[in-house]
Each structure stands twice: as C-alpha cells, then as structure tokens.
C-alpha cells in the first residue's frame, strides 16, 4: 500500500480526531460506556492506522518504543500507587474512599487515576506489540 494518496490524505485528517476520541472515552468513563481499557485500545488504533499508512518508521519517530516501554510500567505503577496510597491513608488496597476527606470525592479521583493508569498501559502495550509484529516482517 505504498503511496496511496487517498489513504494518506484521509488518514492524516482522521488520526488526530481518533486520538482525541480516545481521550474522550478515557475521561468519560464514569458518565458513559468506556474507560481506560477501551481508551487505550482506541488510542493505539489511531497510531496503528498512521503506521499502516505512513510506515512504521514514521510512527516510531512520533511514538518511540523507548518512550512506550517505560509508559507500560508507569501505568501499572499508577494503578499500584493508588492502591498503596489508600492503604497508607488507612484503608484496604484500592479503598478509594480514603483518598480524600470526602469519601465520594476520594472514590471519584481514585477511579479516575486508576483508569488513567490502565489506559496508559494498554495503549503502550498495544503499540509495542504492533511494532514487534511489524518488525518481524521486515
């Protein structure tokens, strides 16, 4: 699919909106369907579309594997960190209620941060797996 003008042009237009849609799904997890996992997948899909159309090299220049690999860990650490934080504040693991003075707020922020962690990890893992597959073919 080298130099397909139509595909290149329309992918260029679509990809930023796909990425923003992913972040919309990410942050509206408690208002509608969605959340970290879906958002991560959609975000990775946007980058994968770009990689399919423009070549993996250009995708790697924007989302370098060297950045993605720490991101995989950062997401998990964020998740675990919230759990540990709630333990330190006197609750059980992931007992969000203790994260703020008002338990409702605590739960809200806790879920938000956890979803963010899930989203970052899923997006990074999906992209790294895709890079690995594409690398094998070359």
């Amino acid at each position: 699919m080298d130099k397909n003008v139509v595909l290149v042009v329309f992918a260029k237009i679509l990809v930023p909106f796909i990425l923003l849609f992913a972040l919309y799904v990410q942050f509206h997890g408690d208002f509608g369907p969605g959340g970290g996992f879906q958002a991560g997948v959609i975000f990775a899909t946007g980058i994968i579309l770009y990689a399919l159309v423009q070549g993996v090299d250009r995708a790697m220049a924007v989302m370098p594997p060297a950045v993605l690999k720490p991101m995989m860990a950062i997401g998990v650490l964020l998740y675990g960190g919230v759990g540990i934080a709630s333990m330190l504040l006197g609750g059980h693991f992931l007992d969000y209620g203790f994260l703020a003075h008002d338990p409702i707020h605590g739960q809200h922020y806790g879920i938000l941060i956890i979803e963010l962690g899930v989203g970052i990890t899923v997006a990074a893992v999906m992209m790294v797996i895709f890079y690995a597959f594409m690398g094998e073919q070359n």
Partner: protein, 101 residues
Amino acid sequence: MALLLDLLSFAMLLGGVFLGISGAVGVIRFPDFYTRIHAAGVTDTLSAGLILGGLMLQAGLTLVTLKLAFILMFLWITSPVASHALARAAMHSGWHPRLSD
C-alpha cells in the same frame, strides 16, 4: 407534527433498509469483484445516510443528533477509502476486472 416526524423517520429507516438489502443482493448477484464494490457502495452511502438520518429526526436538535452526524461523516469518509484501497489492492495483485466487450 410529532406524527409527521415519526412517519418521515419511519420512511427513512424503511428506505435505508431497502437500499441496504438491494446493495446486499447486488453484492451476491453481480458477476465479478469490481462490480460488487459498486453494489456495496450503495449500502455504505445512501442506506447508511437514510438510517442515521431517520434516527436523527427522532433525536431532534440534541447532541445525540450531532453524534449520529459524526458517525455518518466517519462512515462517509472511511468506506470510500476502504473501497478504493480494496480495488487498488486487487488490481495490484493482478486480479483483472471482467469488462463488457
């Protein structure tokens, strides 16, 4: 007024489904791959437009309508791109169309 709107959106949904079935019949009936793309195009353009348009009439002037419009725009951008990429890939693989005469 509400009845008129209901009737209109019912007609649009029905028309969309009819066009969808027509396109699907064309996809089965047409003789070769390249002609089938045209039949599939019917289901992706006007059929999708009528069905989503019928839903939009029901939703009224709300953000739901806007979201339906986003879906329609996305479909109308991506499905021709997909058809074009498909036809191009087929041509590059040496799958030649059957032409009249």
